[in-house]
């Protein structure tokens, strides 16, 4: 049977329920700008009716707690896009540093030094015996070596900077997974609809979103509200109340940190998040740039050295290496060629500007055409398979020269005097010439030395290396332009992708806001609604109070 006091208790319960709803609205309004907050709805349910015989009377409202409005699938989609976004972002940031080293249109990079170096050989060809010009070649070589060294060094520095970021990222991941494990434990002890559970879940999803910025994650929800988190390749991160920390260990061969989980190396297993972007730059893109740079340096060093050895220096000696030769750490690898590039010679006269056109000269003698020599003194001249020994009856240098010239004319070989020294000039196309003294000449002309006499053939050949396929089948310029455009392409592609992922992410976040965001208009409307309901319930209490008063006065 219905009673006044029954009505009173219904009204009071309604007061409680509206208070709970008002609290929820107040909480929503307070958290309108809290990141990761999902708006909450009060759960109001009809209280079970009171059955008295055949009559059933409603028993008011009950406040059954609050419920967070969250689309879990949407949250996971956001996390996935966040992983990709942050992977691209950290990759682009790292590679932007790399591309700034090759910013040719802003005059950074190797182009200028490369062109100047080969042009210096052109200038040498214009004036092959000029010492300042030769010094210019050495300076241009040193500049080129310095630019290679700096670029190689800066690439290594960028790699080391990224390596430090890898360490920090791993620490951040571990901190997030530890907190997630703690939350898992707390949530498993709570009722699903309690206000605290909603708050913890908000924190859970916020942490998960943070973690997604760092690393790729795959999430499964357990029955008790906990989250099991692994990377997409199955590296465990969180299971129930347990977090699995990642650890780092320096790899002795690369000098960079490898990442370990449960004792096994998982460095190459990450596919998303900041960590994957960093590792991609550190372990793939930069090593590839560095190796191309090394190949370019090695190609130039080897070609210039080989060509130098084919020529002759200002003193007529066989050419020596212009650059320090490449030392391959393992066969086939040019690693370190760029950062160790250096010019090997300091004496400008050692530059092998002259080609195989080679003259032999006496030094230390004072000869004129009329100088007497002893009968029996001979010279044996040999070039390109043609050999001639002078007659052993000659008594003047003039006769000796004419003997040589008579024979040599047909092969482009000639003899003449320069400042008291006999010179024998070989044919330009004839290859290396040898002159062997006989008779007294073995002692008199002991100092028979080769001379190059200002020939510039090898300087031209050195200059033309710029147009030769000396680096992996390409000219240095083509190879270098390929290197730069590859770096540019990597950054461009990643930036474009980042932009499109960014658009998707913005849309998804808007969608989340649509669902979970706090709308102040809506909350204001709710406020009025709950306030009115509260006032109405209070009126009911007042009415019952009056009624009971009336009853009491009747008594």
């Amino acid at each position: 049977m219905a009673s006044l006091f029954g009505a009173l208790s219904i009204a009071v319960r309604s007061l409680y329920a509206q208070e709970g709803a008002l609290d929820t609205t107040a909480n929503n309004i307070s958290n309108a700008n809290t990141p990761g907050y999902s708006r909450e709805l009060p759960i109001l349910t009809e209280a079970p009716p009171l059955d008295t015989g055949q009559i059933s009377i409603g028993n008011g409202v009950e406040f059954d707690g609050v419920q967070s409005v969250r689309d879990n699938i949407l949250e996971l989609r956001i996390d996935q896009e966040t992983q990709q976004q942050n992977q691209l972002q950290s990759y682009v940031n790292s590679m932007n540093q790399v591309q700034s080293l090759f910013n040719e249109t802003q005059s950074a990079g190797l182009s200028d030094a490369l062109n100047n170096f080969f042009n210096s050989f052109q200038q040498l060809a214009d004036n092959p015996t000029d010492i300042p010009t030769r010094q210019g070649v050495i300076s241009a070589g040193q500049d080129l070596a310095a630019v290679f060294q700096q670029t190689g060094q800066q690439l290594s520095n960028i790699q080391q900077g990224i390596d430090q970021q890898v360490g920090q990222t791993v620490n951040e991941i571990n901190s997030d997974t530890t907190q997630l494990a703690t939350l898992n434990e707390q949530i498993s002890c709570l009722q699903d609809s309690s206000e605290q559970a909603g708050m913890l879940q908000d924190q859970q999803y916020t942490l998960l979103n943070n973690l997604s910025q760092l690393v790729d994650v795959a999430v499964t929800q357990t029955n008790n509200g906990g989250l099991t988190v692994t990377t997409s390749n199955g590296v465990p991160l969180v299971a129930g109340g347990q977090g699995f920390a990642l650890s780092t260990e320096t790899n002795p061969s690369t000098g960079f940190q490898d990442i370990f989980s449960q004792g096994s190396d998982v460095t190459s297993s990450f596919t998303g998040g900041q960590l994957a972007g960093l590792l991609q730059a550190r372990d793939q893109s930069i090593p590839s740039v560095l190796s191309n740079l090394d190949n370019l340096a090695a190609g130039i060093i080897n070609a210039v050295n080989a060509q130098s050895q084919q020529g002759y220096d200002l003193n007529g000696a066989q050419g020596v290496d212009f650059f320090q030769p490449v030392v391959q750490p393992t066969p086939g690898s040019n690693a370190g060629a760029a950062s160790h590039m250096a010019v090997a010679i300091t004496d400008p006269s050692l530059i092998a500007a002259s080609s195989s056109l080679i003259g032999y000269g006496t030094t230390g003698l004072s000869l004129t055409a009329g100088t007497t020599i002893t009968a029996g003194d001979t010279l044996t001249i040999s070039q390109n398979g043609n050999t001639h020994t002078t007659a052993n009856t000659l008594t003047t240098v003039g006769a000796l020269m004419s003997d040589i010239n008579t024979w040599g004319q047909q092969y482009g070989i000639s003899a003449y005097l320069v400042g008291g020294n006999l010179q024998i000039q070989g044919s330009a196309a004839g290859g290396t010439m040898t002159v062997t003294p006989g008779g007294n000449f073995t002692t008199d002309v002991g100092a028979l030395t080769p001379g190059t006499q200002g020939d510039n053939g090898n300087a031209l050949a050195l200059a033309n290396l710029q147009n030769q396929a000396v680096v992996n089948g390409e000219t240095p310029t083509d190879f270098y332009s390929g290197l730069v455009s590859t770096v540019g392409n990597d950054v461009e592609t990643a930036t474009d992708e980042q932009e499109s992922v960014g658009l998707v992410l913005t849309q998804l976040k808007n969608q989340r806001s649509d669902t979970s965001g706090v709308s102040l208009d809506e909350e204001a409307a709710n406020l009025i609604q709950y306030q009115r309901a509260y006032e109405a319930a209070a009126e009911v209490v007042a009415a019952i109070n009056e009624l009971t008063n009336d009853v009491l006065q009747e008594v």
Binding site: N96, S100, F102, N103, E104, T105, Q106, S111, N115, N119, Q122, Q123, A125, D126, N127, P128, T129, L357, G359, T368, A369, S414, Y416, L417, V418, G419, Q423, Q425, A428, Q453, G454, D455, N456, A463, N464, N467, Y480, S481, G482, V484, S485, T486, V487, G488, N489, D490, V491, E492, T506, K509, N510, S513, D514, T515, G517, S519, L520, D521, E522, A524
Partner: protein, 297 residues
């Protein structure tokens, strides 16, 4: 209840603003650097082309500098040879004069002296140098190529060499830079110094003057024919210079096409970006100023 609208408008607006600002930055960068490619990722293919292009431009400049160096020495050599030719024609007149039967011994001795003077003069031309390098020494440009030598029948010995250097004046195009002095002045059968020495002797002894005159004439013809090398090379250098200058202009046009900014486009992009930005900011200023709460009293 209808569709819930995203209540978090400021976040949306910020994304839009960031995009507008980025476009504004891009336009300003293009205008300030004059380049539309300011880093390799702006257009990797254009940057690759730019590198090859600038290597070519640098080579063209070097070829032009090679040519200008070479032109100086070639002109100097040509003008020396011109003087030699003039001197030789003078010697021929002296020979004609000396062959005249009216001349007496002392007249001829005076002519022989003049011929000796001409030989010395030509020796000076043959030792001519340009910027410290002897022009007719073969490749031994630091050695004076012709020296007075009493043991030689002509009184002069060649101590240079027979080398010829080449320089690049274009991709795969080379020109020889010199003729060795031995080829010019002491060629067998056309030895300038020998011819003059012989003429001097002939005038002094009044024997075989016509033969000696003939010898000088041969030397004169020979030098004249050799001289064409310098004229021909100089004209080749002029042609090459014209070509290289055109190429240089083309290369810089190409460079501009590859990486240069179109100022008009960049300026209008800047205006567009600024307009967008203003509009976004104005719209942003209107957001979130009011909610239903403002009207509850």
């Amino acid at each position: 209840m209808g569709i819930r609208i995203n209540p978090d408008l400021p976040a949306d607006m910020l994304a839009g603003l960031a995009e507008d600002r980025q476009q504004e930055d891009q336009a300003i960068q293009e205008l300030s650097t004059g380049l539309k490619v300011n880093q390799p990722s702006d257009n990797p293919a254009a940057v690759a082309g730019y590198i090859v292009n600038s290597a070519q431009a640098s080579a063209v400049n070097t070829y032009l500098s090679n040519i200008s160096t070479l032109q100086g020495s070639m002109q100097e050599a040509d003008s020396s040879l011109n003087s030699v030719v003039t001197a030789l024609s003078q010697a021929i007149s002296l020979a004609v004069e000396g062959a005249n039967s009216t001349m007496n011994a002392s007249d001829r001795a005076a002519l022989a002296q003049e011929v000796n003077g001409i030989q010395q003069q030509i020796l000076g031309y043959a030792n001519d140098s340009f910027q410290g390098n002897y022009l007719f020494a073969g490749t031994a440009v630091k050695t004076q190529p012709f020296v007075a030598d009493s043991s030689s029948s002509s009184g002069v010995s060649y101590v240079g060499n027979t080398g010829v250097n080449n320089v690049d004046i274009g991709d795969g195009q080379t020109v020889p830079t010199n003729l060795p002095g031995s080829q010019l002045f002491t060629a067998p059968g056309a030895d300038v110094f020998q011819a003059l020495a012989d003429l001097s002797t002939a005038l002094t002894s009044n024997t075989n003057i016509p033969a000696a005159e003939n010898e000088v004439q041969t030397a004169f013809n020979y030098i004249n024919s050799q001289r064409t090398f310098y004229g021909a090379t100089l004209s080749r250098l002029n042609t090459a210079t014209t070509f290289l200058n055109e190429e240089s202009v083309q290369l810089s046009q190409e460079e501009n096409n590859l990486v240069g900014a179109d100022m008009a486009t960049a300026a209008s992009q800047l205006t567009q970006a600024e307009t967008d930005l203003d509009a976004s900011l104005a719209a942003g200023g209107k957001i979130s100023q009011y909610s239903l709460l403002d009207y509850l009293t």
